[in-house]
Symmetry: C2
């Protein structure tokens, strides 16, 4: 399938796996790229040396295939300068930046020959990303897991508005886990999709099995966006969430919430499998995923679902 996204990244099918903390290591990134999509390594939960190692392993896994891969970098990352240095030294083919000002590093990355996409949660920031010179935009809605925009714009309302302000290749993200979701967002104007939750819950994801298994049992309302006085995060309603919600309901300050959050909560939950005390970041669409499958099967299913949905639309008489 050819779209502006497949052409830009030189991939076969316009599906990117999100660079998710504690999930998106080299195994996941390489598997998605090997299957014809674009796999991203998530630098947000890696020390710079760890990232370099994952880049090397992804390269090794894809050796001889000519397939590209990418790295997602949250721009508020403390060791951001070191990370940017590694990405440039390693000449990583694609970098997705998120959670910060795209004007900061886009030019440096691009002059090193790297293709750059930036993740936004509004059309306003899509414009800023375009002005900063990015090659593509990822528009991520309120339903997405983990860190999220303050304006709570959903994928359904976000995509047409981002499409209206930019001609850049556009990836839709948030609430998409199937070929039908792909068709839906592409009908709204996207050229492809970034799926996080779908791949966080794959066999190749480095998340803890207990976390993955819990995600395949949660119901449709079992994630919520919270910590809005800090930086909004979507997580599962577990014991830790309930403490946060209780504190927020009584008007807890940002200070108090920061203390309650403490350090390494997401690692404890997602990577170490502490389902009570951890911060269990996952998207709302998790409730549609009931099995942990290998990436190759997931990619095949998405393509089949898309083909079936397109076939149905072709039969409409209007």
């Amino acid at each position: 399938m050819e779209t502006p996204v497949t052409k830009l990244f030189n991939i076969e099918f316009p599906v990117v796996s999100g660079g998710m903390v504690w999930c998106s290591g080299w195994r996941l990134a390489a598997a998605v790229s090997a299957a014809g999509g674009l796999g991203l390594i998530g630098a947000g939960s890696m020390h710079p040396e760890t990232l370099a190692e994952h880049i090397a392993k992804t390269r090794a896994a894809l050796a001889g295939t000519g397939r590209p891969f990418g790295v997602n970098v949250p721009l508020f990352y403390p060791e951001i300068e070191k990370i940017i240095g590694i990405l440039i030294n390693e000449k990583v083919p694609v970098v997705f930046t998120s959670g910060g000002n795209p004007a900061l590093y886009t030019e440096r990355l691009k002059s090193a020959g790297i293709t750059v996409a930036h993740v936004v949660a509004s059309a306003r920031f899509a414009r800023k990303a375009e002005a900063a010179g990015v090659d593509a935009v990822v528009a991520e809605g309120f339903e997405a897991g983990g860190h999220n925009g303050r304006e709570e714009i959903t994928t359904m309302t976000l995509i047409p508005q981002v499409r209206a302000v930019t001609k850049l290749p556009l990836l839709a993200a948030g609430g998409i886990a199937t070929g039908r979701g792909m068709l839906a967002t592409m009908a709204l104007g996207a050229d492809g999709v970034q799926m996080g939750t779908r791949f966080a819950l794959s066999q190749e994801s480095s998340a803890h099995e207990a976390f993955k298994n819990l995600c395949t049992t949660i119901g449709e309302g079992d994630t919520m966006l919270c910590l809005k006085k800090l930086s909004p995060v979507r997580m599962i309603r577990n014991d830790f969430y309930r403490q946060v919600a209780e504190a927020e309901a009584r008007g807890a300050s940002a200070e108090e919430l920061r203390e309650l959050l403490g350090a390494k909560r997401s690692k404890r939950g997602i990577f170490e499998g502490n389902l009570q005390e951890g911060e269990l970041e996952i998207g709302q669409i998790a409730s549609l995923i009931r099995k942990i499958e290998p990436v190759a099967d997931i990619m095949q299913n998405i393509a089949n679902e898309l083909r079936e949905a397109v076939k149905e639309v072709r039969q409409w008489e209007i």
Copy 2:
């Protein structure tokens, strides 16, 4: 266009206009039905006598056309018994119930020969509605204006999950204002759509001109879901909203919020055009609507957009 929704309601095009407080009088309902959709009168902001008058006027406007129409009734309405009596006496063709237990009145309405749909915000409630014997389900996402579900499930994640639990004719609602939005939600499993915001901002809507004009200028993040300790409502971020947000941030109780809300806030804002003190209920998708057009044009545009989007999908090579 034929779908389970057009067949159930005996309409030409699977678009229903929501029964919105202070917007959906007989003019709007009759115009949508006359244009081949299903127009709903919004009983939520009407005294029983007013409703009877609007039903009579809608009937008169549609006389000789054979077109149906409907009434939306919030089940928590104080004079609900009187309203149900009127709907049955008048043999209104279609009733949409919302915001309450569908088991309460579905059987009475259905034995009077009325087609009944129920509005839900989760798959769990879709199941309950089906068990109560409704003929159709409206699944409305977090991005919708006005009263909304507690679980904050977006349209993108809600529709496939409701589709998975019921074979009933399914209408998608929340964040849909165009033919592209229609295709998106129908690709996810809906058989048609209910649009609220799109028709609240039509010439035939009975909302105040000042309210309508404001809505055509607001940006993508200018509505928020709030009053969650009472019943969650999406409204524009005006002075009144800021008072609510400030109270909520410091942990105001339900009591305090109820007092702050007071009475007739939505009437003051939407119907009387008090843009500072009123409760300005509208959907997130308002930021995509920049013109107040007549219903006939809106319906034509939606059909054209849908046709164009379908044509594009037909050209995909996958």
